[in-house]
């Protein structure tokens, strides 16, 4: 891709000392990714990061479902900043695209409409007695990962290349609407050709695949997924994206936003069950990774430690392609290393792990 313009959208990313805000969806569906992010930053890169137990959800999902008023979410956000101040940090990193959107948007609103900031300070003080200072820097966790992409590349145990042919893996990236569509300047590469994931992919040896519906929403649409009656919309959007990317034969999808990663994974299952359409090699789905998982794999983390077993679409074919060694038998082990049973196999699942477990059982 001849994207040069990303360089015009450079944003300030702090080098160290991050106040980390977790994501509701990421910790629900990709707890391993959050763990991996912290591990990579602190262990591999030796950075300082605070995982503060007192912070809460930004309530962004509630806000975008229109049940949480703007004033309320502003105050919740203000509380997060206050916690950060309290802990002595000023670089806010959030693990969620919705949150990232919320933080940048609220900071911009406070700037544009100062009376809203005043009101928020008032509300926060009234409710909690807290005050706050705005962060020096707000970044999404992927921004930080992008920031250190070369350091990670230097430590790479695996590259995003086919271990057999040496060809770069074909990667489809999905950015998540709220990363840069709200404020193009707040995303690396802007809103049209975001470079945050592409930069990692290229640094780590992969090839980014552009396709017609690249910029399209995964279809979460908040109330559109959260209410069962509306899910036809949600699945239809992912369906549209999958149909559009399938002819490019991507080796995997990497998503910036935890929700998108979950949906692009789960909807492949639902589409297969609903209408029999399957994607990917042999119809066993296109693996979907979070960028933390992608980075973890590159750095040689154990796939199961990254939580890849929590995906509906099996990632093993990708691991095989990358030449990553893993223990198939360790996939479904509980926290003490004991086998806890395995999920039912679905159309999109391919790995003949059944036999292994059948033997174990």
């Amino acid at each position: 891709m001849k994207r040069r313009s990303w360089q015009e959208y450079q944003k300030e990313i702090a080098d160290d000392h991050y106040y980390y805000a977790r994501s509701c969806i990421r910790q629900n569906f990709f707890p391993g990714s959050e763990k991996a992010f912290i591990d990579i930053l602190t262990n591999d890169l030796g950075k300082d990061l605070l995982d503060d137990p007192k912070h809460s959800s930004c309530t962004g999902i509630g806000y975008h479902s229109d049940i949480v008023p703007l004033e309320t979410i502003m105050t919740v956000v203000a509380r997060q900043f206050s916690l950060m101040n309290e802990a002595g940090y000023e670089n806010f990193v959030t693990s969620c695209i919705t949150s990232f959107g919320i933080y940048t948007e609220i900071l911009a609103t406070w700037h544009e409409f100062p009376e809203t900031e005043e009101k928020t300070r008032e509300n926060l003080f009234k409710a909690t007695g807290r005050e706050f200072r705005k962060p020096a820097n707000v970044a999404h966790t992927s921004d930080v990962m992008f920031h250190f992409r070369d350091e990670i590349a230097a430590r790479a145990k695996h590259r995003l290349v086919n271990a057999v042919t040496g060809e770069p893996l074909r990667v489809v990236e999905h950015i998540g609407c709220h990363y840069a569509k709200i404020f193009p300047k707040s995303g690396i590469g802007g809103s049209e050709f975001p470079y945050v994931l592409a930069g990692m992919i290229e640094s780590w040896g992969g090839e980014v695949v552009d396709y017609p519906e690249r910029r399209h929403c995964c279809g979460f649409g908040f109330r559109n997924y959260l209410v069962q009656a509306n899910r036809g919309y949600s699945i239809a959007n992912s369906h549209k994206k999958l149909e559009s990317m399938a002819p490019y034969k991507p080796d995997f999808i990497v998503a910036n936003c935890p929700g998108c990663a979950m949906f692009l994974d789960k909807w492949q299952y639902a589409i297969a069950e609903m209408e029999g359409t399957t994607y990917g090699q042999n119809g066993h789905g296109i693996p979907v990774l979070t960028y933390e998982e992608m980075a973890g794999l590159v750095l040689g983390y154990d796939p199961w430690a990254l939580g890849i077993q929590m995906h509906q679409v099996d990632v093993e074919p990708l691991l095989d392609k990358m030449g990553i060694e893993y223990d198939p038998a360790a996939k479904y082990l509980g926290r003490n290393g004991k086998y806890i049973g395995k999920p039912e196999s679905a159309v999109v699942n391919c790995c003949p792990t059944d036999t292994i477990y059948d033997i174990r059982e």
Partner: protein
């Protein structure tokens, strides 16, 4: 001694201004930053609405400049002006009795509208590219094959706050219609779509041209601005828009996407204006003293405007305005 007036810019407006000045016994000097006269006209193929070859107009103007023996300084950039002198980039200062600023405007850089992928996707072109291709006689997709479906997008870099171009560039509508017809002539089997918000056919014969494009050329006009362009596996360009007349989103892939780029104010307008105390409009174009009774005069006595330095204009309008500007300048120096 003959009065001397410096004409900054050697495009159609500058050339016509100089010719008119010479006719009235003034000694004009054309200062042009490019190596040759002609300005934007050098890049055009045929002119709307008559399909007159641009070359024909250009050749005639150049011939008359030669015949009159008008002094022309090419490859010379102006960095500042005053009513009685012009400063050049090489440090020289030319003195004169008055200045006509005919420095024109700049074509909008389509790559700024990232969502259309100009410079990124092979088959996205600008109207200026297309004119060049017409002139070179090689109109084709990037791979050299003939297009079967072509889309034109109006208002690229015009009427768009996102790129700080709120003004209408005036000529792109009719250019889009003209180019669509030219494409249809070259590729009669191709489907041609024009995506527009308003079709502004303000000039004589323009509306007729539009109608002919619709009825005789079967060019499809879709009211809706293209939202984004993306590549397809076959190297085509997929575009999305709303067909606003039906209120439904529309998607299609095309072999060529042509962006009808607008005119924007020259970047050096700001510097020239600041130096000379000239006023600029919000759009960045120079602001005439008065839009009705003094539209070729600036707010500074002795500095006059001709052509698109004040706003987007057609070739014909620029020529007319050049005459008016020259006359105003003559009245000034002879007063």
């Amino acid at each position: 001694m003959k009065k001397r007036i410096i004409v900054i810019g050697g495009g159609v407006a500058g050339m016509q201004t100089a010719l008119r000045l010479a006719e009235q016994g003034i000694e004009p000097v054309i200062v042009e930053k490019e190596p040759e006269l002609g300005g934007k006209l050098r890049g055009w193929h045929v002119l709307f609405p008559t399909f007159t070859p641009a070359e024909q107009v250009l050749t005639d103007l150049r011939r008359r400049i030669n015949e009159r023996g008008i002094e022309v300084m090419t490859s010379t950039e102006v960095v500042g002006l005053e009513p009685r002198s012009v400063a050049l980039a090489d440090g020289r200062r030319l003195t004169c009795d008055s200045v006509v600023l005919a420095s024109g405007s700049t074509l909008f850089d389509a790559s700024i509208k990232e969502e259309y992928g100009y410079g990124i996707y092979d088959n996205v072109f600008t109207s200026a590219d297309l004119e060049r291709m017409f002139n070179e006689g090689r109109v084709a997709k990037a791979d050299g094959s003939a297009p079967r479906r072509i889309a034109f997008l109006h208002c690229v870099g015009s009427r768009d706050e996102k790129v700080c171009q709120q003004h209408c560039s005036k000529v792109c509508c009719v250019t889009g219609v003209k180019q669509a017809m030219e494409m249809k002539r070259l590729f009669p089997e191709a489907d041609v779509f024009n995506f527009y918000m308003d079709i502004r056919m303000f000039g004589p014969g323009y509306e007729e041209l539009y109608r002919e494009a619709q009825q005789s050329y079967n060019i499809h006009f879709v009211r809706g601005r293209i939202s984004e362009a993306s590549p397809t596996l076959e190297g085509r360009v997929q575009i999305k828009a709303e067909d606003t007349l039906t209120g439904r989103p529309l998607r299609m892939s095309v072999d060529m996407l042509v962006l009808l780029i607008g005119m924007r104010a020259n970047d050096d307008n700001a510097r020239l204006a600041d130096g000379a105390g000239l006023q600029r409009a919000r759009s960045g174009f120079m602001a005439p003293r008065d839009l009705f009774l003094g539209n070729v005069a600036s707010n500074v006595d002795g500095i006059f405007y001709a052509g698109t330095v004040t706003a987007p204009k057609t070739i014909g309008e620029s020529l007319n305005e050049a005459t008016a500007a020259a006359d105003a300048a003559v009245r000034y120096v002879e007063a």
